[in-house]
């Protein structure tokens, strides 16, 4: 059950290469105890970040940092296949300590020129308990409203999410996640999804496992709804590679994807390429135009089977 739809966030969303952070790892404890495994959603993230994002049309993003707590961004998107829009995005961080951390407590809101709203609130209620609320609307109609609570123990994480509870229609989706560090490299866990509507109810259990070494990470989710396996490998400082396999019993389809990311910090350039079993080949190039605080993004995706090409250009300022 997919939970939160990704926010369109600015740079820093993918593995931005110029940070000096070490390769993705969880909280490393030097005292011999097992580290906390992080959240369930980020199991496949390091592999997914290698793949290029589908880019289409012309996009201009202007990021403005008003203070260390407050960030604003304007996005203008002109597109050939979907309606063009202007989007306003604002972020308010609770504290300025964790500015680079994805799970930092923050209030994030995004509003479209058509009136669609996307709002996230992440709160750290205590050192171990986190809460997240998400609201998404499509123009005036609410599409998603969900509430999540996560508890981070010493070597485990447990989370409960209530999605789209609707008293009038008597429908709700409940998701429970559990992840346990079994050894220094191995994490095992599971996800239980229970959905209930007026006419039906059901549950799906998915088991998850992740094994990581300093240079690579392998993850597997398997259950009645399908399987999702990913492998991420960091070959050297410049090249990262990801392989992903997805199978769904509902749509009776499988997809295998191969992607890589090449960083050239001297040339201020990052290139991401991918190819998958649906005969889609894509590449996105990001280049920082050094004297200016701007990044130029050029990308193209070709679907050979359907004979379609999508071309995109983007400029990120600030």
């Amino acid at each position: 059950m997919g939970s939160v739809l990704a926010l369109s966030s600015g740079p820093g969303h993918q593995n931005w290469p110029f940070s000096t952070d070490p390769p993705p790892s969880r909280w490393d404890r030097r005292d011999g105890r097992l580290p906390n495994p992080g959240s369930f959603h980020s199991l496949h993230r390091s592999c997914k970040d290698v793949f290029p994002q589908q880019i289409e049309g012309v996009k201009m993003i202007i990021n403005k940092t008003l203070s260390s707590f407050f960030k604003v961004s304007h996005t203008l998107h002109l597109s050939a296949v979907s309606p063009s829009y202007y989007r306003f995005h604002v972020e308010h961080l609770q504290s300025d300590d964790y500015s680079k951390d994805k799970d930092a407590p923050a209030l994030i809101g995004e509003m479209d020129s058509s009136g669609s709203l996307n709002a996230h609130a992440l709160l750290h209620l205590s050192e171990r308990v986190r809460a997240r609320t998400v609201f998404q609307t499509q123009q005036s109609q609410f599409v998603t409203w969900q509430f999540e609570t996560e508890y981070r123990g010493n070597d485990f994480t447990a989370a409960v999410t209530v999605a789209n509870p609707d008293v009038l229609r008597e429908s709700v989706i409940l998701v429970a996640h559990f992840l346990q560090s079994v050894s220094s490299g191995l994490v095992l866990g599971g996800e239980l999804v229970y959905h209930r509507g007026r006419a039906e109810e059901g549950g799906i259990l998915t088991l998850a496992g992740q094994y990581s070494r300093p240079n690579w990470v392998a993850t597997l989710n398997a259950g009645k709804g399908g399987a999702h396996a990913s492998y991420y490998h960091r070959a050297n400082k410049q090249i990262q590679v990801g392989v992903e396999f997805e199978a769904s019993t509902r749509t009776q389809e499988t997809t295998t994807s191969f992607g890589y990311q090449m960083e050239l910090p001297e040339a201020n350039m990052v290139f991401r390429g991918m190819i998958n079993s649906r005969c889609i080949i894509g590449g996105v190039l990001e280049k920082r135009l050094t004297p200016l605080p701007a990044t130029l993004i050029m990308g193209a995706f070709v679907n050979h089977r359907g004979d379609k090409l999508q071309v995109g250009l983007g400029v990120n300022v600030g």
Partner: protein, 325 residues
Amino acid sequence: MGSVLAAASPSPAPAAVAAGGGQGVPGLVSVPPGFTMPSVSSVPPTSGSGQQTSDADSLLPNPGTYEECHRKCKEVFPLQMEGVRLVVNKGLSNHFQVSHTITLSTQGDSGYRFGATYVGSKQTGPTESFPVMVGDMDNTGSLNAQVIHQLTTAVRSKIAIQTQQHKFVNWQCDMEYRGEDFTSAVTLGNPDVLVGSGILVAHYLQSITPALALGGELVYHRRPGEEGTVTSLLGRYTGDNYVATLTLGGAGAHATYYHKANDQLQIGVEFEASTRIMTITTQDNWVVGATLEKKLVPLPLTLALGAFLNHRKNKFQCGFGVTIG
């Protein structure tokens, strides 16, 4: 009838004729940039090829060709770019240049195109040599070919052929005579003896004063069962840093204004009104577009980015391309 735009030399006026079979032919012959091509200067004060104006007061300069009058303004306008394009130009010798183009298109067809240019050794000016042969072939077999040759100091001739796969779409021959202060040209387009059809175009352009040039165009087209003529008049006025051109005729009015503000900025304004229904070329209103070309200096690469937005039809196109060499 589609017209072949070349870097130089006369070609029949683009939209003057209601010929039945002409479809929008893809791919005009484009001469690779940076190559010495016989270029005919279009603005009279800078001396035209072959004619020296030693005494500017008593001698009027050659006015250039009829087609070039609107060209300076048209060159300012960005090309509509869409999809991805990679161009590799390779100069094999002083006379021969070859280019490979790979196009991936979002709307049209993707393909590969091979182009070759040969420039002969008869040199008539510092940047002009003849004969010039330009050829272009598509991966579907469509061919564009042109041969331009300077027969005598005043007479230049051109033969151009265009095919769509194996079918000949355009075949024309023209001859241009440059006098001291006038230019006249005759073009014979798609002559078909068996069917009895063809197009004949005659151009005449005369310098009245060093800044003013007037001219006319007569198009005679014939098909089995019908024949007709269209005439147009052209006037061009050149100032210090601007050129204004007006064409009036049976096919409508076309006015362009070109202004060179400084070394870095050039501006063009164009107005076009047509009296007949244009089925081949479409003039859309409310189009906003831009193209950026940047030379990536240490490498012999040029990057081009472009986007076009048609507000009225709500259509958007963007594309980028890389030229190597």
